[in-house]
């Protein structure tokens, strides 16, 4: 029942439709390009009919879970429903058909879109300016850190370190390294929060700043944020806000008011742009007043004769081929407009409510790693289940797949043993949360029954393929259809 590759479906000489007839006589390539440069054989792309193409890729979609098919409680990923109205917007030819080198006088609509979503982001984050260039959150991080670096260089600060809590996403330390800083890890305390005293002990003149997400990756609000900010600012350090968890606090609290200087947003998370199976994302970065001059350029600025491309005086330079993943942020703007200010706040409130509800529903079977009221996500540990018949967090995750749900995030954050990180999002109904809780509880009960547990350990079984051998993939390393023949 596996689907053959498109290359296996391929039959020599077959093709889909023709390309356009330009009306121009076809030239012989060798009359216009050196023969030595020309390939002797056409690229061996698949040769199939359009019918077989459509059959193949449509069948692939029936082997794929997605938000539109069901709940996706992936902690820290904020897999909410993506309203279809944004597809309507993305499909407009005045949106999707515009060449990026078109002079600004003829792309004012796009520039208006850019300025408008920037204004939403600034208000939501409490920042003074923003760039839409970064194509994803991780690129936003590096962009932000390079602004931080430029700021310090400009001020003559000598900085070498950036602080990162031990619960941070992997992109944070990687970005810090790529920005040329060294990482100093800040351990969490037993409450799952940054240990303020310990943090203070790590802060010195060599600290360029700190990267935090708040609520943090265990789903808790860093209550000492004001004190943290003060400690960092006291050494002219900057606070970087990882927007991964912004979905919890829109309209409730603003990074800028907490003392953050740089904020990236993951539009696909908080602002519901579809994730596309792993991208495209969009990672705008908003900054405080003091960093405005360092923003990447060019960016659009409104002048008396329309909006024009401008590069700020101390800009770190360009970070994307053009101005970011434009259609993604146009979608996000449509989403924001549909919700409005009040709706955006309710979005966060319900996200937090749903997380706390689900946490309460399952807590007798899945002890939360931390007791406090969570924000939009929470972490439980299945360490206790491991003791019975060896059921691990991964088995619970795979068991959930068999019950028709996506799995939560597993083994993250690293500071919790056998972690399941669960984020239901605001778009799942109470009925769905109840069904998910029921499924999770059934699995916990099964873990205590020898027969059921042994079945679970081999799961999933009802999915398009059963449990996948990841080690074999790394060992054999077949990453193209041609790797077989090697």
């Amino acid at each position: 029942d596996s689907e053959p590759t498109i290359f296996e479906i391929s039959v020599s000489g077959r093709r889909c439709g023709a390309i356009r007839d330009s009306g121009i006589e076809s030239v012989d390539a060798s009359d216009h390009l050196p023969l030595a440069y020309l390939r002797s054989e056409p690229v061996a792309l698949p040769e199939v009919s359009e019918r077989d193409l459509v059959g193949h890729f449509t069948r692939l979609t029936h082997r794929q879970y997605s938000v539109d098919l069901g709940a996706y409680p992936l902690g820290s990923c904020t897999m909410k429903y993506n309203p279809k109205l944004a597809d309507t917007v993305a499909g407009m030819s005045g949106i999707s058909g515009v060449h990026p080198h078109l002079p600004s006088s003829h792309s004012q609509g796009w520039l208006e879109i850019a300025l408008e979503i920037e204004s939403y982001l600034k208000e939501i984050t409490g920042m003074a300016g923003a760039t839409l260039s970064p194509a994803a959150g991780a690129q936003g991080e590096l962009t932000g850190l390079l602004m931080m670096k430029a700021y310090h260089l400009d001020r003559g600060n000598h900085k070498t370190k950036i602080l990162i809590p031990d619960s941070a996403h992997g992109t944070n330390p990687a970005s810090v390294s790529l920005a040329g800083y060294s990482v100093v890890t800040v351990p969490s305390n037993e409450k799952g929060l940054v240990d303020l005293e310990l943090l203070k002990s790590l802060v010195g003149d060599d600290v360029a700043g700190i990267m935090l997400t708040n609520p943090n990756t265990v789903g808790l609000f860093e209550e000492d944020i004001a004190e943290i900010a003060k400690a960092i600012h006291d050494v002219d350090g900057l606070l970087y806000y990882d927007g991964a968890n912004l979905n919890a606090i829109v309209g409730i609290a603003r990074p800028g008011d907490m003392g953050f200087d740089i904020v990236h947003s993951n539009l696909h998370k908080t602002f519901a742009t579809p994730h596309g199976g792993g991208g495209p994302g969009s990672g705008p970065v908003a900054v405080a007043e003091k960093l405005l001059d360092f923003l990447p350029g060019p960016y659009p600025v409104r002048g008396h004769d329309g909006i024009k491309w401008t590069t700020p005086s101390k800009s770190i330079g360009r970070v994307h081929s053009f101005y970011g993943n434009a259609v993604v942020y146009a979608r996000a703007l449509a989403f924001m407009k549909a919700l409005g200010g009040e709706g955006l706040r309710q979005m966060s409130q319900i996200a937090v409510l749903n997380a706390n509800y689900l946490k309460a529903m399952i807590s007798s079977y899945y002890p939360p790693a931390y007791e406090a009221t969570c924000m939009h996500e929470f972490v439980v540990s299945t360490a206790a289940l491991k003791k019975s018949f060896g059921i691990r967090a991964l088995d619970i995750a795979k068991g959930l797949l068999d019950k028709g749900f996506h799995a939560p995030t597993v083994y993250f954050p690293l500071i919790v043993d056998e972690a399941l990180m669960i984020e239901p999002t605001e778009t799942e109904s109470r009925q769905t949360l109840d069904a998910m809780a029921e499924a999770l509880i059934e699995l916990a009960k099964d873990a205590l029954d020898e027969d059921a547990a042994s079945k679970m350990a081999g799961g999933p079984r009802r999915t398009p393929v059963t449990r996948v051998d990841e080690a074999r993939a790394a060992r054999t390393l077949i990453t193209t259809v041609d790797a077989h023949s090697k």
């Binding site: 440069y37 792309l45 979609t61 309507t88 939501i124 053009f322 259609v327 990841e470």
Partner: protein, 434 residues
Amino acid sequence: MLTFLGLDSFDQLYASIPDAVALRRDLQLPKALSEFEVIDVMADYAAMNHPSNRDLVCFAGGGSYDHDIASVTSSIGSRSEFVTAYTPYQPEVAQGVLQGLFEFQSMVSRISGLGISNASLYDGASALVEAINLGCVKTKRSRVVISGGINPNWREVAETFAKGPGHEIEIAPIGPDGATIWPTNLDGVALFVVGYPNFLGFVEDLEAVRGLASSAGALMVVAYDPIAISLLRSPGSYGADIAIAEGQPLGIPLSFGGPYLGLFSVSNELVRFLPGRLVGETLDMNGKRAYVTTLRAREQDIRREKASSNVCTNQTLMAIWAAIQLTWLGKSGFLDVGRSCLSSRVYLERRLVSEGLTTIETRLPSFREFPVRLKKRASTVIDEMHPLGFLAGVALEGSLAIDNFEGDLLIALTEKRTRTEIDRYVGALVEVIR
């Protein structure tokens, strides 16, 4: 549900937020609109743009090309299982995306001629940045020589991100014939980056670059136009170590510059340095073929501060679109596109010469894009051609200026341009220039 939790209000859920940092007012944002009103407002914006269509026939390239996109590409590529899925962290329920990416990787490897291709990067510029980081890590050097014929926007991006690790970016200028003038001192070069064709559309001599790289002990990075590979030998056939490209021409809408698609291939030896996601084939418990993201140990979420790339998401959906479009074209259609682009370029160049708008220079051969020196500056020509219904090209001015070609108009052809359009374009150009 609040009641279930024993709470009276949402405020109690947020009790952990200190008063000092809580927002004590409403967001100063417009009120909610119905989806119909949102669509109207966005349509108003869209109406202020001038898309490339029959009212504004596109002769602009410069990193973004107006190709025909098959209906199947948008139709199947817009299926919600592809659009609304997450990163395939649970392979058992993500075989659709994973197999699609595996097929994409296979196609990119056949195009680039290199054994390993990742599941895509953000865009061409980010592919260049990752190539530089890879090359510097691999060679433990930091001198990067980039041809001045690389897309100037990409070069700027490379320069921006080089500031982090402190790589030294050096631009090798372009001579009047359109060829890169490589430095003679090759000491400590980590990698050479050459365009193929370069930003001006000229096909450079890759054998020469291979020779340089080899003698310097550096990596050879080829930034190629994927459409050109329909006719030209692959970067891999020249012994390139890394091949990068902007994948937009493979079925991705112009989209005002994004989302696009960075293509990234390496030789087999470099696989463990590969940035981004990589999908591999394996088996499930029943011995059935299955796909999974592999060599995860390279990635940022596992290596953390030791990772040589911080890439987390890629552009999966665009990769799926490209895989569909490349399948739709197929072996013969891909060749047809290349031939059509070349034929139209030859036709237009001849027409321009015969109208006396430009002269034939001694310079490198072109594929589908070429610079033209006109009696007016390119930006002026573009402005004056607009009311006549043409986006005349890209102006090689300002940040896009390239030595020896400053002020020229860069014209790109795709298989979408017809003889009628090209003839009208030449007529309009005559009118504007005379």
